[in-house]
């Protein structure tokens, strides 16, 4: 009987630890990664991103207004742009691991021009992958998150 009670306590402790670590991981990952480039306009911010993306072995894919193709070109919002970029080897690897990686592809940063500069934001791929329950993909996404942070930081320099 004592043996069973010990085992039960052991299993309960394991359960609690697993639950706590899962919660801690979820709470540790912010939803959005952000940075601000103060005192610049949209064009300068895009140029800074161009440089940062290339220097981290990514390729520029395209950029567009947030309402591109939804309104006539002349009426597009100029203050919110989407910047897409990609590293094809990483994309290939992530898709081989799990096709749901497409939810993070291509890489994307949203730029919002404000009176004081340009805010950059990106959805944290590690936050997204936490919900997918695939540890291999999560490991890739942690690397991707590190790349995002490096690119955001370099763009602000």
């Amino acid at each position: 009987m004592t043996h069973y009670i010990r085992q039960l306590f052991f299993l309960l402790a394991l359960f609690w630890l697993a639950l706590a670590s899962a919660r801690a991981a979820a709470e540790a990952e912010p939803m959005i990664l952000t940075a601000t480039i103060p005192g610049v306009g949209m064009e300068q911010a895009v140029a800074a991103l161009d440089r940062a993306v290339v220097s981290h072995n990514y390729t520029f894919v395209r950029q567009q207004a947030i309402d591109s193709r939804l309104v006539p070109y002349a009426q597009e919002v100029r203050s919110v742009r989407i910047y897409y970029f990609c590293n094809f080897a990483k994309m290939d690897r992530a898709l081989r691991i799990d096709p749901r990686a497409a939810q993070m592809l291509p890489c994307r940063i949203t730029l919002i021009e404000t009176p004081s500069g340009v805010d950059l934001m990106a959805v944290n791929p590690a936050w997204v992958s936490l919900g997918m329950g695939n540890p291999l993909l999560h490991a890739e996404c942690l690397e991707l998150k590190a790349d995002y942070l490096a690119i955001l930081e370099e763009a602000t320099l």
């Binding site: 697993a18 639950l19 567009q64 193709r69 919110v80 094809f88 290939d92 898709l95 939810q103 936490l130």
Partner: protein, 146 residues
């Protein structure tokens, strides 16, 4: 004891389980799937903004064909609502549909809105997320029904 262990394992599974993204599948070619999604989007006042042919982009660079293509759809209303409700929601726009081709069937998959809904437990942003989720669900039903 085994029963207790199984019960705990189930509890742990339930605690860590997350909702899956919305999906719909049918036997169709990738090209036809893109056409059908475009039509389904139009039926729900959405516009196909961009087809991201990551399959051909990878093949062109010597990688294996993942048989995955990404479509972006949106409406002007969705953009304006997101701007007003919470600019963080702009990261979801245009809305993404991933097409995955396997064994003659194409599965269309949305992004998973559940983590977003957890981040926005109330307010206008949550209502907007729910509305997009419902719209995408209806669109996927339309896609399958065609």
């Amino acid at each position: 004891m085994k029963r207790v262990a199984m019960l705990l394992a189930l509890l742990l599974l339930a605690a860590s389980a997350r909702a899956e993204p919305l999906t719909a599948a049918k036997s169709v070619s990738m090209r036809q799937a893109v056409d059908d999604i475009t039509l389904a989007a139009a039926n729900h006042d959405m516009v196909l903004v961009k087809v991201q042919p990551i399959d051909s982009a990878l093949v062109k660079r010597g990688f294996e064909d993942p048989h995955v293509r990404i479509l972006f759809i949106a409406s002007e209303t969705a953009v304006r609502w997101a701007e007003a409700a919470d600019p963080r929601l702009l990261n979801l726009l245009p809305l993404r549909l991933t097409l995955i081709q396997r064994d003659g069937r194409v599965t269309a998959m949305t992004d998973d809105f559940e983590p977003w809904l957890r981040e926005f437990p109330q307010g206008e942003a949550r209502l907007l997320l729910k509305a997009w989720q419902a719209e995408l669900k209806a669109m996927l039903d339309d896609f399958v029904g065609q």
